[in-house]
Symmetry: C2
Subunit: 442 residues, 2 copies
């Protein structure tokens, strides 16, 4: 089942063959990635181009005045957290006149969950792809509270939790990871897929496996006594259910970057959203974003907390769908039967969701496999040509955010088809152009 | 779906109605059990009737001279471990003349994995059913090595590992558990069933969850420094994959005992095997064992290590099938797709296996649920009348043992039908006799 697109359409066309070759190389980089979680570091120290006045956000680039909801609140919160402004009004002014710069995470080898706000002093998880040499980053998870900068809330509680994670938890985790010599991400993903996780909306198995490994290492470090910050780390690990999502996001970003900028390749290298638009990047089109307006939140289906309905939701951005880029999340719905309601489907429907994804992907992942499909590999490497031909869009598991901020549950998100179609057109117009390549790996 | 057997067969018969009532009470005790792992203790200190010259084993009672294989080796090993004999010949002689007594575990509120050998100085896991007040026991798991007393091997390595677990690991675990105030078993079972475990042949999720909880508590205990025995405990937890099986076995035994000795009830309260025979107990028949010869090992199907075939296997006893008594293991095959080869079936076959088990059980468990079956409760409470009527025997996931001892893999075991049929006859002959009741709960 591995290999390029259908031989019938590829036959007799030099362009088609070149594209197949490019896709073959691109998807081999996705599946060959060997991500290692190295450490947690101050973002400004490791993320290239992240100045003290830069605020990273999720989504394709958008003018400041178009941010009106949760992502705007989080950007302002980030400015205040960083001490760049004394109050919200000053932050607004500095953002409006460009003294503070809002930048898309993806251009900085970074991905962000939901609002995706990350500033220089915040801690990021550092994942190194040992196959490509690339590093990618994702901000440390804020913990279990539903009110968070991630979910578009800024208040004293959010700030206090951010500082706790930044000042106490992250240095402790960094020390443990460095002592461990880093932690291989792939084996945990592989095992978690056999334990009911999709690695996007559900991380219960990966989280338990990660927690046990880290606590074991903490014990090893603590022969002379367990310090307060290690106990704080243990407390954090008890409840930070989506920490491993952020690790997988960074791992997926490193893999996707290694597969990007291959001339002619129709492989999807990024999907994301800001408050208003869905964004798509394709390997052969380099850093170009193809965008389209987001579907109305009323069209989302899933499982929301506390009796909320989709009317209560709003988009606040999101880049956790980088996990779908490597075959996880909604692509691997069949692995995660416990998500059957969140994922808007019964068990048979979830099996069909993943089976449908094989029609739009280039390869079955050799290591990441789904027990319920007799250990078939996850559908990996979305091909915009196949999406355009079939009309089947990627199935995406997405966290849901309340209009006023806060975690509301999980939904199945179907991106608009149009950017995929446009990507195919663009590829056919300029198939031999080698896109500009970004800087060397860090 | 809850309730007694089919109304058609029950209608118009006072005996039938009384039996239904008895079954209703019996299965309510199974599903209402609230097991808590309290501690690890020296068997002789907590297991009633376990004298210094008693050796507990798995299976229905059998004369000493009929033990010829792995279970015999393990019994002799137990005698030597306990210092009851200087060498094998002396142990044989003391066993032959009855100075040393071989006793069935089940009569001592204890269950044993495979050979099931347990002597007074060995550590047992102590599980307390908070609903019934009963306690039940299972020997501490020996760890990951395939050669073990459990799997019918006795040599210096086995002895050294047993002493390490007894002298260092168990006291450390006991201290942690007591400090935690015990650990509720049910919530881990419930979660693990959503994470690919059947809680008999597969415990990867339960083990990870348990390990994380225990390590967290160890950190809390270790503010002044992590001692050697805590590091030994951490090392043990890293590899003792089937520890949680032994915990679930004790939990299931406590629940089954609380449902036993109810006049007229056709609920299965124990299934086990020794080297030669399958044994069955039914609530309304009290402590009576109904036995039948074991099927030839060549008829087993499953997944064996290292190219072994079923010809290399031998029965050495086993009581881990107490987990099937409460709806886990093969009964919950549909929850554990990663066992698809061990369980001798494809994913659809595993779904059908569990679906078939609803035909012979009294209730769907209200808490233990299977995501792949849209969260239907596991089939709980095997009714010998339904087994006899349908000819469907319980599906049992069983560890496989080499003829010369050692862990060989896992298989699907189908017990003989005849003891179930005989139980129905006996129940119809003496439905109103209240069986003798064993002693009060400890």
């Amino acid at each position: 089942m591995s290999g390029g697109p259908g031989t019938a359409s590829a036959a007799g066309s030099a362009r088609g063959t070149a594209a197949d070759d490019a896709n073959e190389r691109a998807v081999a980089r996705l599946t060959g990635s060997r991500p290692v979680l190295e450490t947690v570091a101050r973002a400004g120290d490791v993320v290239r181009g992240l100045t003290d006045r830069t605020i990273l956000v999720s989504g394709p680039p958008m003018a400041w005045d178009r941010y009106t909801g949760g992502q705007r609140r989080a950007i302002i919160g980030g400015a205040l957290y960083e001490g760049l402004a004394g109050d919200e009004a000053e932050a607004e002014a500095l953002l409006a006149d460009g003294f503070l710069t809002v930048r898309p995470s993806h251009d900085h080898a970074t991905v962000g969950s939901l609002t995706g706000v990350c500033t220089a002093s915040m801690p990021v998880l550092v994942v190194h792809d040992q196959a490509s040499g690339r590093r990618a980053f994702c901000r440390m998870n804020e913990g279990a509270d539903r009110a968070s900068l991630t979910f578009g809330v800024w208040d004293d509680g959010v700030e206090a939790r951010l500082r706790h994670v930044s000042d106490i938890v992250s240095p402790a985790l960094a020390e443990v990871l460095e002592r461990m010599g880093g932690l291989a991400v792939g084996p945990i993903v592989r095992r978690a897929l056999t334990m009911g996780d999709d690695l996007h909306s559900r991380h219960k198995a990966a989280g338990a496996l990660f927690r046990a490994e880290v606590l074991d290492a903490v014990l090893d470090l603590s022969r002379q006594g367990v310090t307060r910050r290690y106990r704080a780390l243990a407390g954090y690990l008890r409840s930070a259910e989506y920490l491993f999502l952020h690790i997988v996001m960074a791992a997926a970003k490193a893999a996707a970057d290694s597969a990007s900028h291959l001339a002619g390749s129709s492989l999807v290298t990024a999907m994301n959203l800001n408050e208003k638009e869905f964004g798509l990047r394709v390997s052969g089109l380099g850093d170009r974003w193809l965008t389209a307006p987001l579907p109305p939140v009323a069209t989302l289906r899933g499982r929301l907390y506390d009796g909320w309905s989709t009317d209560d939701l709003a988009y606040v951005g999101g880049e956790s769908l980088i996990t779908e880029t490597i075959g996880l999340g909604g692509m691997a719905a069949a692995a995660a039967m416990p998500l059957q309601d969140h994922s808007a489907g019964s068990p048979p429907e979830m099996l069909r969701t993943t089976e449908r994804m094989y029609r739009i992907t280039l390869r079955e992942h050799p290591d990441y496999r789904i027990p319920a499909l007799a250990y078939r590999g996850v559908p990996c490497g979305i091909d915009v040509r196949r999406v355009a031909e079939t009309g089947v869009v990627p199935a995406i598991h997405l966290g849901a955010t309340l209009r006023d901020g806060g975690h509301a549950g999980a939904v199945l998100f179907r991106p608009p088809l149009e950017p995929f179609e446009r990507a195919v057109e663009l590829l056919s117009n300029e198939p031999t152009l080698t896109p500009a390549r970004p800087g060397d790996p860090l």
